[in-house]
Amino acid sequence: MLDIYGIEANRRALLADLKQLIEEALQPFADDLREFLERVRGGAFGPNWRDAWDTFVETQADAGFNIEADSASRLVQLMESWERGHKAQARILTKAGATTSPTSALLSAVQALQTDRAIEPSSSTFVQREIARKPAVTGHGFFNSKLDEAQACLTSIKEALEAVGQKLDGSEVDESVDVDSDVDAVEELIWRYNDAVESARAAWLRENLSGNDNTRLLQMRTPLSLGLPQFVDDGQAERARRQLAQISHRLGVRDERQDRLITGLRVLDWAATAAGLLAGGGIVIHAAKTGGKWAVVKTIAIGAGGMAIEQATESGLRGLGAGEQTIRGVRLAAAIISLIFLRRKRGIEAEAESKAPLYKEGPENPRRPRSEAPTIEGTLDRPRTKYHLFLQQAVAEEMQAMYDYERIATNTSMSKFLGRKFKNDIRPDAIGLTRDGKVDMVEILSPGQTKVELEDKLSTAMNQLPSAMRGEFIAIDPKDAFK
């Protein structure tokens, strides 16, 4: 009797083997292309990168790898966008199917790769030829090399953050400091860190490496430990989640550090807390009027040492050998960069979601879906008149619904909200921090209060802030509220 199930199982095993063989055969090309793209992005070839690209294409063709014209064209487009420094365009390419990252670009190219007619159609011949050309590092060695690569990325991230911290320290109050290229560099390093770790996890799964190796993976420091988002690429985050689930399944255990990493998938939301840190430090982030480049302005002469810091971040920095001075600068830089990541991401999402309604409904700014809304901090006021709580809540919820507000609180003191001590520390009914670092305050009048004096109080409180952070203040009389 024909064993149908056995044949099917054999076919599957053969296909799996074939897939692995093809992947291994393509590895040298993948490594070369990745290295080449990274060099282009790093500016190694300067304006002559097109010549270098032509040489690369010819060399690969000689080695048996012809890059399909369409893939080559998309890669050239990508490199052109890097050359112009237009990260935004690179992101658009990503959305359209191309990528900003070398590895994603590589995957795209590899999918369309056609083998040269000089290569034997036999997969075994193909593999033998390629292995002979450049032996692939496999197994434990590959795993270790990826961990080293990830570690090197972390070290580079720390150095980049230090540089931003020093740049900010050296700037004058109200001087605009361009951090656009620093943000790009850190974004790229976080991407590469995760790429290396992803490769290490893939090797662990493929090679059936030991539980100890997985422990080493989990013990690695992460961008989170530097106060940065764990991921800057949703695709990477999703793949990490799947890999971690597979590893857990295979080991039959669940390690809390894996849970922590999965929790870290939502770090772009987490980065919103950085807003308070910067507000307290008198740092305002803005996209410059021309060119849309991100810059920061130090609005008061406050030392980074005066700011709060998350414990895990400090421990992560100490783990990387940072001293006190470095920690102060790095935590500030990490908060700035996290927030810019957040704004870039939210800006793109908000634009995408709101474009059509905007044209239809007029010039109202985009509203965020409830699922993305930040929590309203604080509590509602003590019972006053019947309208007081309703108005307080209505104002806070409106701020919550608008993308322009990053944090909202009710009945919360300025000191608590901004993480800084204020002499005139008032507790407005609603307080909001806008995306451009301004503080808005709203008060609801009680029957015994006077509007003039309440506005004087809000004005005095507002004037304690650096001018760039002074937003709007409004005192609403419930008697007039619904007129």
Partner: protein, 275 residues
């Protein structure tokens, strides 16, 4: 609400540090006005010392708390501590007011006298039936304040109580929920919006402060001017209305309704208007 009530108001402006103390002598003079017109009870709000600008107190001493206007928060009696804080020069803002008999909340008053170093302003508003002349009120307010505050500019006007005449002096007005929600919904455009004349005045009080040099908010029934204002508007060689000297440094400029539009045109032509 006394919908028909009309208030005669005077606002005087002077340069001040935000925590400059309010002189005790000014308070005594203000108290004299309440006694003269037999206005009671007297409520007060103060900033500085033990007082917060968002609280309401009764200018009396004695036991017990007073609940009014449906507010679950009581109005406390605090005459003695208020006097002590004034004498100790702890207060940078003081407001005294007498509520109307049918008032529903604090904004419905018969008279309000206030001075604030935050805005550099002394304000006196009183029922029109008690003080019908803006010029008379201007003189009275100047008498109370001129030797205690370095007054540079002021104006007198009349408007219904429902339009918040005390707020008008500082460029503020009624704010409803829709105003707040509009600001929140259009946050990015809000700061670049076209300001109303009142908003421009409010901004001037804290930023430009040109009214303390030689600029005008407008042409009011009675205006208190410095010599620089008089020169800027060319009121000596080309007079409009009645100009009289209050003291060596200050002038009172009176305008009838028919003269006010001509005066406004003059101020605009002289680039002396804040708008």
């Amino acid at each position: 609400m006394s919908d028909s009530a009309v208030i005669t108001s005077t606002a005087l402006f002077y340069p001040a540090g935000s925590d400059d103390p309010i002189p005790y002598a000014w308070f005594e003079r203000a108290l004299g006005v309440f006694e003269e017109f037999k206005l009671s009870p007297i409520l007060f709000t103060a900033g500085g010392g033990p007082f917060e600008l968002d609280d309401c107190y009764l200018l009396e001493d004695g036991p017990g708390e007073i609940y009014r206007w449906g507010d679950p928060v009581p109005i406390r009696r605090a005459r003695e501590s208020f006097f002590q804080a004034l004498k100790a020069q702890q207060l940078y803002s003081v407001r005294l007011d007498a509520p109307r008999a049918d008032s529903q909340d604090r904004s419905e008053w018969r008279a309000t006298i206030a001075a604030s170093s935050i805005s550099g302003k002394a304000y006196f508003g009183i029922d029109q039936d008690l003080m019908p002349s803006p010029t008379a009120l201007m003189r009275r307010t100047c008498e109370m304040a001129h030797d205690l505050f370095p007054i540079r500019y002021g104006f007198s006007y009349q408007m219904p109580l429902r339009d918040l005449p005390d707020c008008y002096s500082g460029g503020s007005g009624r704010t409803n929920l829709a105003d707040a929600l509009y600001m929140i919904r259009h946050r990015r455009e809000w700061e670049n919006r076209q300001l109303t004349p009142d908003e421009k005045w409010k901004k001037e009080l804290t930023e430009g402060k040109r009214h303390l040099q030689d600029h005008f908010r407008g042409a009011f029934p009675a205006n208190l001017l410095s010599t620089d204002h008089v020169k800027k508007a060319d009121l000596i060689s080309s007079p409009i209305g009645t100009l009289s000297q209050f003291n060596d440094e200050l002038w009172i400029w009176e305008l009838s309704d028919s003269e006010r539009s001509e005066a406004e045109l003059r101020l605009r032509a002289k680039n002396a208007l804040i708008d």
